[in-house]
């Protein structure tokens, strides 16, 4: 799995962008988006997904269940 940003709720505050350990977040058309290929749910870096922890709008950086669970390298 990966996290995704619900675009309609994003205030474009940019707080999440520099927090991501995998540089998975970027600005696109005025809101921020997560690249599912880069997101690791912060596993191996931090205890909690950084984007969700810093985001001012609750339930805006959420798990995207359409992707399989991220597998940390062995």
């Amino acid at each position: 799995m990966t996290l995704k940003i619900i675009a309609s709720q994003c205030t474009s505050c940019s707080a999440c962008e520099p927090e991501c350990p995998n540089v998975a977040i970027s600005e696109k058309n005025g809101t921020f988006v997560i690249d599912p290929k880069k997101c690791t749910e912060c596993i191996g870096h931090f205890d909690e997904p950084q984007c969700a922890a810093v985001c001012p709008v609750d339930n805006t950086c959420v798990i995207d269940t359409s992707y399989p669970r991220y597998q940390p390298p062995a």
């Binding site: 474009s12 505050c13 940019s14 707080a15 927090e19 931090f46 810093v54 001012p56």
Partner: protein, 520 residues
């Protein structure tokens, strides 16, 4: 640096190359503004009392902190810092930051390069613009690269512009050295509590070192970092102002404690602002119906803290407004598109000449006030009352009643005229209430005043004001505010003493809810 060697014209061409060009412009770092004449007397309404002499020197003619200088100078803010690292219950991040700019309109985000160019364009057109602030829309220190890049660009081309920033303080201890390195003139920290139990009611969470903290733990972290940052700044001789938002029933009584805590750590000013919360802002406090204080409650708390420390009453709680200073809204001239296409000639000499003229005017104003005050000597009376003044700036009664977007309020007594705050009325006239009601709402906003001084007023509002017990005064049109107010007060006392009229105590007034609409 000597003024004579400072002659330097920086021409900023269009577009992307801005930062590259700025790098090539001769270094002016290190020379501050020419400062004031040193003659003007009153600082922030209080005296030198407990300030160390070197701090007092910096404050007394400071455009932000000397209330009397405040009438002549302006500052502007640029919105380069969108991210924040804490959540406040009086903030909805869909809109601009709290701190001192709370609440704001949704402002356009600027890159540091755009922001620097905008500042230079405004400063070249409006010589009163002498201070640049970064206060949001989030927290400047949660966006350190953007904030410091903006400072760097401006300091290179316009070393006479003072730099300031406002922060919630969480990240402050990490950046104190950089702040000192940029010669930042002053820092404002918003401190609403020193007791984490109270803090937990104001801050739902903070984000620190890769972790979100909540409740008392979050508030404890925040207050520790705020006070540590404050101490570090004052140790380095950087001016620190503390803002507090007064939230009735949450921290109103506690702010007396806050006042002591920040004073003992060297803050030179404590600015208590009313909570502004209405449901349509969508903040937690707005939605829970948390009310803001009335004008009387606010003044009582400010008075209680005043013995302790200089209080700042001229804060407008707005996106500070260089562009609005001239009385007409010039925001349309300074949209990003227009600015990026502009050729900006930043001419320090012509700005200096203008500022020298302003200094002369300020001195004249202080002299006039002192002469009038001398004539009050010998009078003694316990009467203290408030009057409202319609002004466009320069310390003059020079605004038409019907055009006033705000009134300045002075407290008059035999001790003289003391500036105690602003009352904004602009919002009432725009939307929501409708035109018919606007006069009524102006009256509500200045209901605690005995008189309103204006340059001009129509017959209708005149009689309505009189009916509400507020005397419209237009015979001092275009004269100095304080001198005129003292003269009027002298007449008032004479009438009361001779029995011609009785002194009545007036009621409370409303604090308007909403943002001052202005771009800068």
């Amino acid at each position: 640096m000597d003024a004579s060697v400072q002659h330097e014209q920086a021409t900023i061409p269009d577009g992307e190359k801005l930062s590259a060009v700025m790098q090539t412009i001769a270094e002016h770092k290190g020379c501050g503004t020419s400062g004031g004449s040193g003659k003007a007397s009153c600082g922030s309404g209080a005296g030198q009392n407990d300030l160390p002499p070197d701090i007092w020197e910096k404050v007394k003619n400071h455009p932000c902190y000397s209330e009397e200088a405040h009438h002549h100078y302006a500052r502007m803010h640029v919105a380069v810092a969108p991210a924040c690292n804490i959540q406040c219950n009086y903030c909805n991040r869909k809109y601009d930051c709290a701190n001192e700019s709370r609440p704001g309109v949704v402002s356009e985000k600027l890159s540091p390069e755009q922001a620097a160019k905008k500042v230079l364009a405004v400063a070249s057109t409006i010589p009163q613009m002498t201070v640049l602030g970064i206060a949001g829309p989030g927290d400047p220190l949660a966006n350190p690269e953007k904030t410091f890049k903006t400072f760097e660009l401006i300091a290179k081309t316009a070393p006479d512009i003072k730099l300031c920033l406002s922060t919630n303080g969480l990240a402050l201890p990490d950046h104190v050295d950089t702040i000192a390195g940029f010669n930042v003139d002053h820092v404002t920290i918003t401190i609403n509590m020193v007791d984490p139990e109270i803090g937990a009611k104001i801050y739902p969470w903070v984000f620190w070192k890769h972790k979100r903290y909540t409740g008392v733990e979050a508030a404890k972290l925040l207050t520790d970092r705020q006070l540590q940052g404050l101490e570090m700044l004052t140790e380095r001789g950087i001016l620190c102002k503390v803002n507090s938002v007064m939230i009735p029933g949450v921290n109103d009584k506690h702010l007396v404690e806050v006042n002591k805590a920040v004073k003992s750590r060297g803050a030179f000013l404590h600015n208590i602002m009313p909570l502004i919360s209405s449901p349509e802002h969508g903040t937690v406090f707005g939605l829970t119906g948390q009310r803001g204080p009335t004008a009387q409650e606010l003044k009582a708390l400010q008075d209680e803290c005043e013995g302790e420390m200089n209080m700042m009453r001229h804060c407008r709680q707005c996106r500070a407004d260089a562009v609005g200073l001239l009385g007409e809204d010039r925001s349309a001239e300074f949209t990003t598109d227009k600015i990026m296409a502009m050729e900006v000639n930043y001419d320090i000499d012509s700005r200096k000449a203008y500022q020298a003229a302003v200094e002369e005017e300020r001195v004249a104003k202080v002299v006039a006030k002192q002469e009038e005050l001398a004539s009050l000597a010998g009078q003694s009376s316990d009467i203290k009352l408030l009057v409202a003044v319609a002004t466009k700036g320069s310390g003059l009664i020079n605004e038409h009643f019907g055009h006033a977007k705000e009134f300045q309020v002075y407290e008059l007594s035999t001790a003289g005229a003391k500036f105690v705050g602003h009352r904004r009325v602009d919002l009432y006239c725009q939307g929501g209430y409708g035109d018919e009601d606007s006069l009524e709402t102006v009256i509500r906003a200045i209901n605690d005043c005995h008189a309103v001084f204006v340059a001009k007023i129509g017959g209708c509002p005149k009689s309505d004001l009189l009916a509400a017990g507020i005397e419209p005064v237009d015979q001092y049109a275009h004269e100095f505010i304080e001198k005129s107010a003292i003269a009027w007060f002298k007449d008032y006392l004479e009438k009361v003493n001779s029995g011609e009229m009785a002194h009545v105590v007036r009621g409370d007034a409303e604090i308007r809810q909403g943002a001052l609409i202005s771009v800068a």
